[in-house]
């Protein structure tokens, strides 16, 4: 047995797991005019991946995940606007810290409920943040948000060009890869296994003495931090942030993306976001008034015929 194979086995690596990354790298050269589109796609994948950790693995159904995306987005935005803190990488860390702290605090309070109640509580928490950002216009720019933000070049070398998303695309992709490696390691660890156990049978996990609530709150906080990173990337790449980063549209959108791809599978975020983005883009171009019809029909079809998303068609649940 070679060392490479042993490494692959220890980390449950499979050959096809290289494909999305090769495709993403190839897209950089093949579609130079679509890098802005690609950057939004990569950011959405990261956001959906963070949701997969709580929804797919821990079984926490939330409709308020954009709260953390928005918290991260506004953190780097406000730091750049008011504190002159424009260095991108440390901005990501600050965003992760703020979003993670909000996730920890709200998870501690909310995660004693479940079902519709939890859904509404996460939704209301997000709505509170959104209204707060709307009202504190001195800090956040209110309804208009903060347009025209300036960020320092990445590593002091690669500037963010608002017209050509070359740096932004590579930067987002590298951050996504790092976050993906972290999430992948987490779900294969004993921590991840205990989350799956809680999702499948919470009574039994209590019975074997697992610290159920502590695990859930921790998973929620980690997921929130990752969503915050996605939000920070959004602000840095687009050089603006506004209330849309925090809204129900974004929270529902990422939920749809993840369910469409297949939750609890890591790669569902990739498949769902790509299918949804390409579908929306192609339909909006071809039928500017009726694109929602096509998207809606696809969602209905997937819900009816492919239990647990597109990946559910080809892969058995883990």
């Amino acid at each position: 047995m070679t060392a490479a194979r042993r490494l692959a086995e220890r980390h449950h690596l499979r050959w096809w797991e290289a494909l999305p990354w090769l495709a993403a790298a190839g897209a950089f050269f093949a579609f130079p005019n679509y890098l802005a589109f690609g950057t939004q796609l990569v950011i959405t994948i990261l956001f959906a991946l963070s949701l997969d950790l709580v929804l797919g693995y821990a079984g926490i159904i939330t409709l308020g995940h954009a709260a953390f995306f928005g918290a991260g987005a506004y953190t780097v935005g406000m730091l750049a606007q008011h504190a002159g803190w424009t260095e991108p990488l440390s901005g990501l860390l600050a965003a992760a810290a703020v979003a993670g702290a909000i996730g920890l605090a709200s998870g501690f309070v909310l995660l004693r409920t479940h079902g519709l109640t939890l859904l509404m509580l996460t939704l209301c928490t997000m709505a509170l943040l959104e209204e707060g950002a709307n009202m504190a216009s001195a800090l956040t720019g209110g309804f208009d948000g903060m347009p025209g933000l300036q960020f320092a070049p990445l590593l002091g070398v690669f500037a963010f060009d608002p017209l050509y998303f070359r740096s932004q695309y590579v930067y987002s992709l590298v951050v996504l890869f790092a976050c993906f490696a972290l999430v992948r390691m987490l779900v294969h660890s004993s921590f991840g296994q205990s989350l799956t156990g809680i999702r499948e049978n919470v009574l039994r996990m209590h019975a074997v003495g697992a610290p159920v609530r502590a695990r859930l709150v921790l998973a929620y906080a980690i997921s929130a931090a990752l969503a915050g990173v996605a939000g920070a990337l959004f602000t840095q790449a687009n050089a603006f942030v506004n209330l849309a980063a925090l809204g129900l549209d974004r929270a529902a959108g990422v939920l749809i993306v993840l369910i469409l791809g297949g939750y609890g599978r890591l790669y569902g975020a990739f498949v769902g976001a790509t299918v949804y983005f390409v579908l929306e883009h192609a339909l909006a171009k071809a039928y500017p008034t009726a694109w929602q019809l096509g998207v809606g029909l696809v969602l209905i079809g997937v819900a009816l015929f492919a239990r647990n998303g597109i990946l559910g068609l080809i892969q058995k649940p883990q």
């Binding site: 159904i61 519709l116 009202m135 239990r307």
Partner: protein, 287 residues
């Protein structure tokens, strides 16, 4: 505006919220089905009612009856053909399906009618002001409150005093027990679903003056409907009624006094209420 006027305005909005949401509460309580497309039925009904009056010249009540019947029939069709396949699916597949359905409804209405806001042309006797003795108030709001109150009484009687209502209450509290006692929950659900969707249609039409009516309606008010259902408790007619009035009045008051950030209070209140009583104000613990 003085206190009574504010209360009346809030009551009218609350009545509309109640008429739309009550069906959602009962169907979610019965089947645990997460039906995010419920607001879509309200929108379709609203369009049917407004357009029936505008283009066919139907009288107000005739249009309401047409809207109710059309949407109830459509909902039975959808329930038998599509919803029924997903009763055993996970909540998330249900979410995906109903969001997809909302998208289709929005696109269908946009294509067929157009993206602009529709206005309800009121008959002469519902326009202007009515002297209530203490205060003069918009006739239409008063009529909505009267109609809503009558409907609450009818629903309450039907729920508490008829065999059909007893079956629904039994099935909400314990579906398996009700089934083993011979209640056909599937048929019960189809009938309740039709009634709930039809009521939502009436609410969409009656509320066109108060909540507005355009293709984005089902998504814009989804949160309100869900808040009313969650605060009221699943499958509780009286709970939904109290929650709808509470939310309607408070929303009205705060939007007038704090136009900026008025909704903040509604969300904070919902958060506090649900942390205090996770099963809703009137729901049963563990239900």
């Amino acid at each position: 505006m003085d206190l009574i006027g504010i209360l009346l305005g809030g009551f009218a909005a609350g009545m509309v919220l109640f008429i739309v949401s009550v069906g959602l509460s009962v169907t979610m309580g019965l089947m645990g089905f997460v039906n995010l497309a419920h607001g879509g039925f309200a929108m379709l009904g609203g369009y049917a009612i407004v357009l029936a009056m505008k283009h066919w010249g139907l009288p107000f009540f005739g249009a309401l009856a047409v809207g109710f019947a059309a949407v109830a029939a459509l909902s039975v069709l959808l329930e038998r053909l599509l919803y029924a396949r997903l009763y055993r699916a996970t909540e998330l597949d249900q979410v995906l399906f109903t969001i997809g359905l909302v998208f289709v409804m929005i696109a269908a209405v946009t294509l067929a009618v157009g993206p602009e806001t529709q206005t309800l042309v009121l008959p002469q006797w519902l326009r202007g002001q009515t002297d209530l003795g203490i205060i003069k108030y918009r006739t239409y709001s008063v009529a909505v409150i009267v109609a809503g109150t009558a409907l609450v009484l009818a629903l309450w009687l039907g729920f508490e005093r008829t065999r059909y209502g007893a079956r629904i209450r039994a099935a909400v509290d314990n579906r398996r027990m009700a089934q083993s006692l011979g209640v056909d929950v599937g048929r019960l659900f189809t009938a309740t679903f039709a009634l709930g969707s039809g009521l939502a249609a009436v609410g969409g039409g009656l509320g066109a003056e108060i909540l507005g009516l355009d293709p984005q309606y089902p998504l814009r008010y989804l949160v309100y409907f869900l808040i009313v259902v969650a605060v009221g408790g699943l499958g509780r007619v009286s709970g939904v009624f109290c929650a709808a009035l509470l939310i309607g009045v408070l929303d009205f008051v705060f939007k007038i006094h704090f136009p900026k950030g008025g909704t903040l209070f509604i969300y904070a209140l919902t958060l506090a209420l649900l942390l205090w009583r996770p099963q809703g104000l009137f729901g049963r613990r563990g239900a």
